[in-house]
Symmetry: D2
């Protein structure tokens, strides 16, 4: 059994970790910290966990995280980098669901997250936790920067085409849509029911933190300079993310490449993946087809004049886009079958 | 392994059976019938099942349901009673999720369902599949009438008080609210998104089929004459059912009985139940605390002058209110641990 | 033109007043106060008002409310009673959308609202602003306590039967359901989209502030002692309120009174009302049939054994349940046609 | 007063016409046809119209549409072209909300709508009813093809840049999102609440009817060849449309043009328009800021490397995207002030 600690278990990625780990056959939930909720049973805050999670929140001082095998940080940015060094020194592995260890480029981190990086020396060994593109490094990692939700869809959607060199890396457009849970569990007017229901909007169009993270990773896949135009939107639904990706085929390639060849690139890339489903060419995946599961689905289109490939990617932002992916990394790090505890069938309807 | 057939797998209770059975360790999905979708892979109709259910729908004629150990009917009323005799004769157990075998009172059935009952001779052995009140009979049953969604909440909510004889059986009021999936997967204007979203209404106030079913069962618990006023409402949510039950305490009892004593009746009644959660007195259960799980939660209140007990009951109408309950019955009928394959943690948020 | 001031225009009842008054032919919006948003154009906070409301918020100190003809308080409880005396002394009429002047029973007010009433001497002249039951007093009022949203539906639903003396006043049950906007525009986790969407719950079952307000008013209609069991619920919709009212017919009356006679009581009671629609007996009104309008609709049912009348009442909680009703009062107070500026056709779908 | 007929008043654009015309000071509703609902009062089908619209549906044969001044067709494609000739011959003006008279290119029409165009001889005089780009022709038109909902946003969003010649007309991308009411009021499983709520998807990515209509119109604004990649999506909301438009600046222009200059193009283009609101540069318009109103709002962004302009456009798909626009055309055709009867303040929240 893997002894597991969770720092910051009161947010949505925290409670989603609990939902997943409560039925994970190798997980032993050992400590969940929350300064504010010290002593409160987790199931009192989240009645959905009544009878399934017996733990109470404990103040960070009291929780003996050093006795865990792995600690997940489901905290705001900046917390993991303060606590990771001591944990690692005590032989505890660390998986951060926030951004502290996602980007190697410190300047970009500090620019976009508005804080100094207090733990730069650990960055070189931090591993970006996207198994489908980085599995080998995850195996031996002590410290994981778990990908952002949007970046997961953008990378898995663009990767096969970028690697194959068939698209213009300098002109990527990602029009992405997220459910409201992606904004977290915070007392903010902007995410009230009455402010977001029955409406739709873009946000952060001028620039979003997930752009530099995604570009840094995509750049590893090609020698061409990657330029990404990323537009996030807020959808009146709780869970779910839909990314509509526009990739312009290189001119010479556009005239000769078949749809079948494009489809084959994706099927080949993901043929051994448990959590990436390449749907038949021309499909329209719905976010609900991944609801409450670790699946990510991809479908290709090539409309109109054939110059663009449109890649549709859906996932549950709280699972494959956050907590499920973190558990997937844990499974890899501890030598378990990668899908252990993650085979929830999507909830539909 | 239990060989399982599903008749009518294209509706919501059908696909929910598939979701549950796909991870049930003793279930072997053997046949799913649909005349209209003959030959179509189930996962093509329900992409949420891609990679998890390999079966294709088959026409009822071709499906060899007689080789199954149990057949679930997730069909409109009237189908199961036509096919059950042959299946039973071949040693196949039958669990009907529709109303054909729920009521012993044929006249009531025919009045409310507008069809003749073609299989009256099987009614005496049909068992009402509410495990918490009828477990012993389910154990040895060949033929189960799986309860309606509303009746499940009304019975489990009123039962402890009725059995204890502390309330006026002749003045039960049930104000119940259901998610739209309860109306099924039918091409009807009344359940379109644009007709039901951002709105709320009652329906069937003059009379609803679930009243006679519930009264027939509640009457078994008391010698007093049961009279039930049941008002169903439609909530703009997919899954979930919330029943607000009003029970008037008998006058002499009202003055002496304590809240603790009332609470104790419920805790005692359900202390060994895996799927009934009696919450602390005064709780306000949310339907989402049961989402996509087989849990039903109950909380008691005694407002104002103390003459009434208000019982709040929540469940997922498609799970404990339908397909989960059916699998719970199957587990009992086949001697499995009752919670086998049913321990999904509710999905929250 | 009526010069109008609004204190606290940043909440939902405030912006709804603005929506209504922006097209009211006799309204001259003169001042809107908000300490926090001083100087900010209203339309910057609410882009829906761009080009339609030119005013900016001003700090309460700067706003010359004393020059207005009427001031609406769309504030939390306690604000109006602090400012009303000075305004009234300056000849300004006051309409409070909060609870300060709704109840004559100070002890009840102080118990339920947890604050001392600082303006008891004005209470005797305060008029309860429910036009259909209190029109004559409103005509000459200087100070209006605008009814709560739930109480509006409960009073208009029970009133005809209580006045006629046909129901048991001591056993009224009101099972009410409100859209989330009723909880206001506050940064609270409990009303986030991800906490309330796709779910349903009751709240305040042990006791709610709207009970004593409603009982105080209903008691005026009958000599029998009124006892009310009121259960509020939260519906995942923005606007809308649906009250399901259960009235027990007096035993002797139950056996002889016809449905037609009951229906006639309602039709007679509201035959001259512009904003109360008595639908055909047995109708199922939907909240959306009143969306963004000042209409309230009522339908009667008499299910089962005929001992109860079930009254269904729907309204838009922000219009007839709050700001529309306040403008209706204003129209009466200033001698205008009562429906001036209030004839919005409900938005459907 | 203008005598008005509506053919096909049972769908969403029909009932929205009724909502608007019921308070239009110059409109006299004269006839509403529906073969299926012959004799049924409109307000029985749409209780939101109780007390506001007295008309009953009448069978097309009985309705004397020839006595109207104008007839709106809120019907499926193909109906208007069958009936328009006779009406026009009788001096009745025609506004078709379907596609029959939107496109001059008959081949494109027949390809995308799958029917022969039975009224080609009227096409030359048919006027495309987008007032902001075509006002002069609308003034004298007898026959209007009212624009599609998506095309309205795409044209008003791209037009100023295309006219100015600063963008690459051959590489327009429109990622558009619509509320479910855009799919109409039809008994189809795909638009049930339980199929569309809490989910998001693209549809018609391979090709959508609104592409050729939009290209035909955009092509009139520029000599460069217009190529448009249009991707529609379905949002779980009733009303509202959000188009995210990506325009690539011509390379030489990209380096020198300022954001202010781009913004000025839009402000200049729409400075006299009552229903187009150019928001401050960098705004994020929400669809709800136009809910139930005829407003369309536009905001510009220029993220990242500055090579693209991102234009955000929102409207209510049933108003500016359909019925409101049709009434706007009617106002122009009959010499009324263009905003007569159309100044509804958007409903928010």
């Amino acid at each position: 059994m893997i002894k597991i600690g969770i720092v910051g278990g009161t947010g949505y990625t925290g409670v989603e970790l609990l939902r997943i780990l409560a039925t994970h056959p190798q997980a032993q939930l050992t400590a969940i910290t929350s300064r504010k909720e010290d002593g409160v049973p987790v199931a009192q805050m989240y009645p959905s966990l009544r009878g399934r999670v017996d733990l109470a929140f404990s103040s960070p001082d009291k929780a003996n995280l050093n006795e865990c095998d792995v600690v997940f940080f489901a905290t705001p940015h900046g917390v993991a980098m303060a606590q990771a060094p001591e944990l690692l020194a005590n032989g505890v592995k660390v998986i951060d669901l926030a951004a502290d260890f996602r980007m190697q480029d410190v300047a970009q981190f500090e620019k976009w997250y508005g804080m100094e990086h207090s733990c730069k020396d650990l960055l070189p060994e931090a591993v970006y936790g996207l198994p489908e593109l980085n599995r080998d490094k995850i195996k031996n990692a002590r410290l994981i920067g778990n990908p952002g939700c949007y970046p997961t869809t953008m990378q898995l959607g663009f990767a096969p085409l970028l690697k194959a060199g068939v698209i213009d890396a300098g002109n990527l457009i990602a029009d992405c849509k997220s459910g409201v849970s992606g904004a977290g569990r915070k007392a903010e007017i902007g995410i009230l029911f009455s402010e977001t229901s029955d409406s739709f909007k873009a946000y952060g169009v001028a620039g979003h933190r997930h752009t530099p993270e995604t570009v840094e990773q995509l750049q590893r896949l090609t020698k061409d300079k990657v330029e990404l135009l990323f537009t996030p939107h807020l959808v009146p639904m709780i869970r779910g993310m839909h990314s509509t990706l526009y990739a312009q085929l290189k001119q010479e390639i556009s005239q000769e490449i078949s749809n079948e060849a494009l489809q084959a690139m994706f099927e080949e890339a993901y043929k051994d993946e448990a959590f990436v489903d390449v749907m038949p060419f021309g499909s329209h995946p719905e976010t609900r087809s991944t609801r409450a599961s670790n699946m990510l689905r991809i479908a290709l289109h090539r409309p109109g004049n054939g110059k663009h490939v449109v890649i549709l990617v859906v996932q549950d932002n709280l699972v494959k886009g956050a907590s499920g992916q973190a558990v997937q990394c844990m499974n890899i790090m501890f030598g378990l079958d990668e899908s252990t505890g993650l085979l929830h069938v999507p909830v539909n309807p």
